[in-house]
Amino acid sequence: MKPQSILIVTLICNLSLAAVAFHYFRSNGSPAGNTAVSESKAEKSSKLKTNPSSTPTRKLVVTNYNSDEFTWHNVEAQDYKDYIVNLRSVDCPEETIRDIIVADVNKLYALRFRELRGDEGEYKYWKGNGSMNWNTKEGYERQKKMRELEKEKSALLVELLGIDPDKERQKEMGYLDYRDRNLSFLPEEKKQLARDIQEKFEERRQELYRNGILDDEDQKALRKVYQEQMAEMAKVLTPQELEEYDLRASQVASQLRHDLDGFEPTENEFREVFKLRKAREEDLAYSYDPDDKEAQERRKKAGEEVDLQIKAQLGDARYAEYKRSQDYNYKELARLSERLELPKGTAVAVYDMKKVAEDEVKKVREDKTLTSEQRAQALQAIRTETEKAVTEAMGADGWKRYRSRGGYWISNLAPTPSGTSRVQTVITQ
């Protein structure tokens, strides 16, 4: 054999052996149990997984060898979809696949979120998150981009796993996104369409809310945006569905839910009151201009008219409860009663005492037959009696807390006896 031929043969052997050695070296790269972390997957991802569908793929099935011992390199891939396929091919449970992918995607996006927030550098304990202050134009824009990124992440997870596990977990915990909540009554095929419209108009609302100061013009603009949204939704929803949406998502419904806290309306009562208020939405709108007497008068008149309609609808007894539930004094009492876990009905009982006591005081003050001394004594007696009754109803602790917050009306029934300061009264009780 010619030396030239021998050299060629040995060189071919060199190359073949080098290829085999390289393969062994790669799969034996780090010893078992080595805790050194390979290049962060998230870092790799940020370079390579920006477009999962276009990145190069590495398939599990190749034809070079008969068998190979398994290492993680055999399933890892630059493309998430291949990574999932590879994990499935070794019977990795779906739940574990989700855990791996969600953690990886989270890290990938966490880097981008940090970049957006502008805190990707070293930790500075004295720096807050001023860059995200949505009252500033820059902060608002950043928040907008954050929302877009959040959507992108969710879409990627849905594409890869069929669901967004973060959202699923939230749902399981009971924290349903209010956008989904408002659309929960719709058939599945309409949900996404309605959601897209909702989100489109949400952006316009956010722009109005951004400044943190809503004036009358903004309020009008908000109502207009909602009307436009409803007009667009009317193209995909039936009139009945639209009405149901209004009951869940409109500003009127939201305000009514707040106002009726403590009233415990039935579904039907809520629908009826909503209808009446909705019909007069423009007139009932609150005016932020303290000098706009005309608007204030219009609101007052509309309020009285709507109240009459509600009274006719609910009946006298329920109407009285309806009015009570909107009284700030009652709301405070109800909250305190709940906080102290007082028996149901305590808040109503104390609230009624207030009305009775104040009526009594009015009578005494208007009674021209009384001397000043007799009047003072009578007022003092009402106050003492009321304090006693409230203490019995709420307990000593309840009374102590109530008098410092909300229960000031009792002190107004009669002057505090001379020689006793309010501070002293509080301290001694």
Binding site: W72, K171, R181
Partner: protein, 419 residues
């Protein structure tokens, strides 16, 4: 030529040696897996597809590799097995953290009320939930959280939290020189104190059910005092200051709330925090006697003077403005109207001048009520014009919503006595 042939032959021999070495090393590693796992997995499949040979991933016993070869009921074994197949440490942590989280979540699940459909006529569902957890839930939650942390620490080491921080994009505080210098033992003690008092704090908030009166505030303050006292046993006064600077509620409030828009330097942040701490320490709750109040005012003034000296006159003024609610609103109006920040400052400062002038008019006994009212009205109108020219018509309207002080400079008409 001969030399080249010789080099090539030697290279071949070297490569054969390297292959032999890697082959032996791999068998040694895999033997550890097989020792821990019972023989599981499907039978070996070789070259089965359309005449082509396929790569078949096998375990150490030559059986087709399956995830069951690494999975184990025992977390420690599971981790060891994952490491044997060279699963990156980061992925090992991701898998274990998610699994442990799910395990503990499953213990809490039965204690939570099932999710109900949204009932639009009920206010409790207004923000998508209402309270679905009872007291027992919170008790078990606290216990399981503690157990979970201990388990994860045991399995993955003390810095497993870094992995969680990475997922959520939280800043890595461990790189802070102060945190770096603290011994691990001290860090553990501090974490324990934080958790203990954090739980107590949560309990107060939970019981308050959103009703935060002065009694709740007093309970919270008491807890805070106790927390600091326990911290002082673990840290030197200097380190306690450093720790508070990073983690206390006062510092957090400064960072995320009060100083928004002030853009503090590190030095300024430290100076402001110092002044606040001095004022807080001097405050004695419930002190009603004159001497205690005077002492408090004196201490507060001293700390403010010291702060002014550190920040300088201009920055001190900006600092005060940044915390002022009225100014903040004015700044927002100015931004919206597209007028410079200076206009907001100008309007803000107008208030003190106007009130001073109004006081002088009210104090002037030579004026008749009519003339007094006329003069006050003139001041009010001039102020309104000034604000309109500074902030624009819409800005003025937004500003006057909360400008009660201006409306109040004119005394109200005396009401008619009731009949």
């Amino acid at each position: 030529m001969k030399k080249l042939i010789l080099i090539s032959v030697l290279l071949n021999l070297g490569l054969v040696g390297a292959i032999a070495y890697f082959s032996v090393a791999r068998k040694t590693q895999s033997a550890e897996v097989s020792a821990e796992n019972s023989s599981r997995g499907a039978k070996l499949e070789k070259g089965s597809r359309s005449g082509k040979k396929e790569i078949v991933m096998v375990n150490a016993k030559g059986e087709k590799f399956s995830w069951r070869d690494v999975e184990s009921e025992d977390y420690k074994k599971y981790i060891a097995n994952l490491r044997v197949i060279q699963c990156p440490e980061e992925t090992v942590r991701d898998i274990i953290i998610a699994d442990v989280n799910k395990f503990y979540a499953s213990r809490l699940k039965p204690l939570r009320k099932p999710v109900e459909d949204f009932k639009f006529w009920k206010n409790e569902n207004n923000w998508g939930g209402g309270r679905r957890e009872n007291d027992e839930y919170y008790k078990v939650q606290m216990e399981t959280e503690k157990e979970k942390r201990e388990l994860l620490k045991e399995l993955l080491g003390a810095d497993y939290e870094k992995e969680i921080a990475k997922q959520y994009g939280w800043s890595d505080q461990s790189q802070d020189p102060f945190n770096e210098k603290l011994p691990q033992e001290t860090k553990d003690k501090l974490s324990e104190i934080q958790r203990k008092f954090g739980e107590q704090q949560s309990e107060i908030y939970r019981k308050a059910k959103g009703y935060h009166d002065e009694y709740v505030q007093a309970d919270l303050k008491k807890i805070e005092k106790e927390r600091r006292a326990e911290m002082a046993k673990v840290l030197s006064p200097e380190d306690l200051f450093e720790w508070d600077l990073r983690n206390s509620q006062t510092a957090q409030n400064m960072k995320w709330n009060e100083l928004q828009g002030f853009d503090t330097s590190e030095e300024e942040f430290r100076a402001i925090f110092k002044a606040k701490l001095a004022a807080e320490d001097a405050r004695t709750d419930g002190a009603t006697d004159k001497a205690a109040r005077e002492e408090l005012m004196k201490t507060q003034k001293e700390s403010q003077d010291a702060l002014k000296a550190t920040l300088g006159e201009d920055r001190y003024k900006e600092y005060q403005l940044a915390q002022n609610w009225e100014y903040k609103e004015l700044a927002r109006i100015a931004e919206r109207q597209g007028v410079p920040k200076e206009s907001a400052i100008q309007v803000y400062e107008m208030k003190a001048d106007v009130e001073k002038a109004a006081r002088a008019i009210n104090a002037d006994k030579t004026l008749t009520p009519e003339v007094r009212k006329e003069k006050l009205l003139a001041i009010k109108q001039a102020t309104e014009q000034e604000v309109t020219s500074s902030l624009g018509e819409r800005g003025y309207k937004a500003w006057k919503r909360n400008a009660w002080w201006l409306r109040n400079i004119i005394p109200p008409e005396p009401s008619k006595p009731s009949q």
